[in-house]
Symmetry: none
Subunit: 401 residues, 2 copies
């Protein structure tokens, strides 16, 4: 997507856009000829909205490509997820709501078990419970070094997020996890000149961690991998002149939204209804709202077909609260598919609905994979969605005379 | 579109292609669930042709982008309208049938009103009637300067087209219209070195115009904006080996067709029937015909839903004359959408039909937005249309063995 071209056509407007993302929305039938999760769900409100909408199926990163939630979200936000890559370390830090700065280098950390010869005996330290992990993270946070700040945040069980903050750090750094037991952990190596200093800091951190954890078996050592800084991406205010807000509970989604220049709102509570309350409360303060529903994906990944159906039905039951706000444009879609039968993310195109007063409605009275495959938007790159939403919101002026 | 790749595959043939463009063809229903202009129109001939055709919806410049007629036409002619931009001044000159040369610099001109301090009091000179404007344009055409030729052509009311002709002129020139009343007109500034001379010529012209118009209140001054040369674009004969002709009444469309290397035919009369007569008369002399229907757009922009319906019905009633010529390939489409409910151009994809003996027909017996959204061509960039037409006309050979 040529942002410069689009940016020059952006005009201000008083319209409001809501982008409602059900994570991992796309699904598959349990058996050939059956219905998907979305098609099985009883969704009278979404079906009624579909009848007044244009439908299609989105591909986050082209045909056949399965994406993680990071690239999936970048794509539906309008950014080419192949051009703008968010490294795993950075995603992990965002996932624990760490406010990662543009110069920070982040990594995924694991507690692991090593024997007296420093050889790994368990890459996940017997998956130590999260509360024990929290204690050990406190220990790691005592490590100090001149010229650099370290931040360690617990994730879950043996996992933690690791961040180095100092001016001029590069992130071309090798992993320390040998990815097998019976081998020693590896030192961090700089893969370019700019990353030499970062490699030294990381190795010094690791050596101090080794000392601190010496008698903490099974969590007596750490590994670090996926070192990454945040990519610089042009923001929603810069690109589209949108004063954008994110309503999301989970850290990673909040982090990607922040990266796109959205203001991340505090959600008081952890239910879907709480997210809708946040939307209502802040309705007058923004002109773009990204809303994130996590549990469709959680159920999909767990293989819980009916659980995913119920989450979709809950979203549907809350739709009247969204509609009552009378947004000018509503987009309902997903960041990727997560069919329960696959128990994982998948490459299948994702159902999409774009509603607005000036949309050309397809007249298809159902929101589901098969219905969307008959929609006028066809199979489209997810990156196109924001453009169409902006057009329908009167925020793109005519190109040429 | 990679012209070089395509160009190498072009082979001669004795086939004929007709590209029938209804300007602003795409529409919207008056109310949700209703029919668009094209769907409302009674079009037995187009419907019968659709049944033997492949259908789809075109996007002139990607999703969400509304285009002017210039880029809209470039796109349906096969040129990327973002790569090949026609500036506003050049379009204005083409619009009054001025044969703009490759070195000419054109601008849009306005008569305006200024007070005794040269401050603008009316940017449109009370929209003086066109006949008065014609008289004043005659006056401006008396301005002579060594080393450069000036051409001024009336457009409508206070508007005129201005052209400078001299070797080596650049077109990176600033506007003189301050875009508000209460400010003086601005001098033309050169925005690069190559445009210095053009800026001097334009400023000298403006000063002479100021003297000539001194006592012509309300039209006692001029502004110039949108300075532009024509872009160089590869032509239909060069690219496709087509001996192409344009049947269009309005200047701008004639100008864009000329830019693409089409021979612009004289239409004796100003009705649609006259255009079809021209087609018939010249049928043996060319192998590609672009036909332009203006009034679909005029009605759309005027908000005249039923007027647009009637223009489409008139086109339909003339289709038997086109079919009687037995073209090998017929394309019916538009350069952009102009829904009457929006009273403007819009971003909505445009209905398209491609008929030919070797087309794979969709078997959809209707030509309309919803019918086309079910078509096998899907939503496609408008730039792809000419390729498919050429293929169906046996003018593209096999790539590779």
């Amino acid at each position: 997507m040529d942002f410069k071209f689009l940016q020059e056509l952006i005009v201000p407007a008083k319209t409001k856009i809501v982008l409602l993302i059900m994570d991992g929305l796309g699904g598959l039938p349990l058996e050939p000829g059956g219905k998907t999760e979305l098609e099985t769900a009883c969704t009278p409100n979404l079906d009624a909205l579909a009848a007044k909408s244009a439908l299609g199926l989105t591909q986050p990163a082209g045909p056949g490509i399965t994406v993680g939630s990071g690239p999936g979200h970048l794509a539906i936000f309008g950014y080419d997820p192949i051009e703008y890559e968010i490294g795993r370390g950075a995603l992990e830090a965002l996932g624990v709501d760490f406010e990662l700065g543009p110069a920070d280098v982040a990594a995924r950390g694991n507690f692991c078990s090593v024997d007296e010869n420093s050889v790994i005996t368990d890459r996940r330290a017997s998956r130590i419970p999260s509360d024990l992990s929290c204690e050990l993270v406190k220990l790691l946070n005592t490590i100090k070094l001149d010229g650099v700040e370290f931040f360690v945040k617990p994730v879950k069980e043996h996992r933690f997020a690791f961040v180095m903050r100092a001016p001029g750090l590069g992130d071309a750094l090798s992993d320390t996890d040998p990815l097998k037991v019976g081998a020693a952990t590896l030192p961090v190596r700089a893969l370019d000149c700019e990353s030499e200093k970062a490699a030294q800091y990381a190795n010094q951190f690791i050596e101090q961690a080794r000392c601190l954890l010496r008698d903490k078996h099974p969590a007596n050592m750490i590994t670090l991998r996926g070192f990454a800084k945040l990519p610089h991406i042009p923001t929603y205010p810069e690109l589209f002149g949108l004063h954008a807000a994110a309503v999301a509970i989970n850290g990673m989604y909040r982090g990607v939204a922040r990266l796109a220049g959205m203001e991340v709102l505090d959600v008081w509570g952890d239910t879907l209804a709480d997210e809708f309350s946040t939307l209502e409360k802040c309705w007058n303060d923004f002109d773009f709202f990204y809303m994130h529903v996590k549990k469709t994906d959680t159920c999909g990944e767990a293989g819980d077909f009916m659980g995913k159906v119920r989450v979709i039905e809950e979203v549907d039951s809350l739709m009247p609260r969204l509609l009552a706000l009378n947004p000018d444009v509503i987009v309902v879609g997903g960041d990727h598919s997560s069919p329960a039968v696959l128990k994982s993310h998948s490459w299948h195109p994702v159902p999409l609905l774009i509603y607005g007063k000036y949309v050309r409605p397809d007249g298809i009275c159902e929101f589901g994979e098969h219905a969307c495959s008959r929609g006028s938007l066809g199979v489209l790159p997810a990156t196109h969605v924001i453009r169409i939403a902006l057009a329908n919101a009167g925020r793109i002026t005519k190109y040429g005379a």
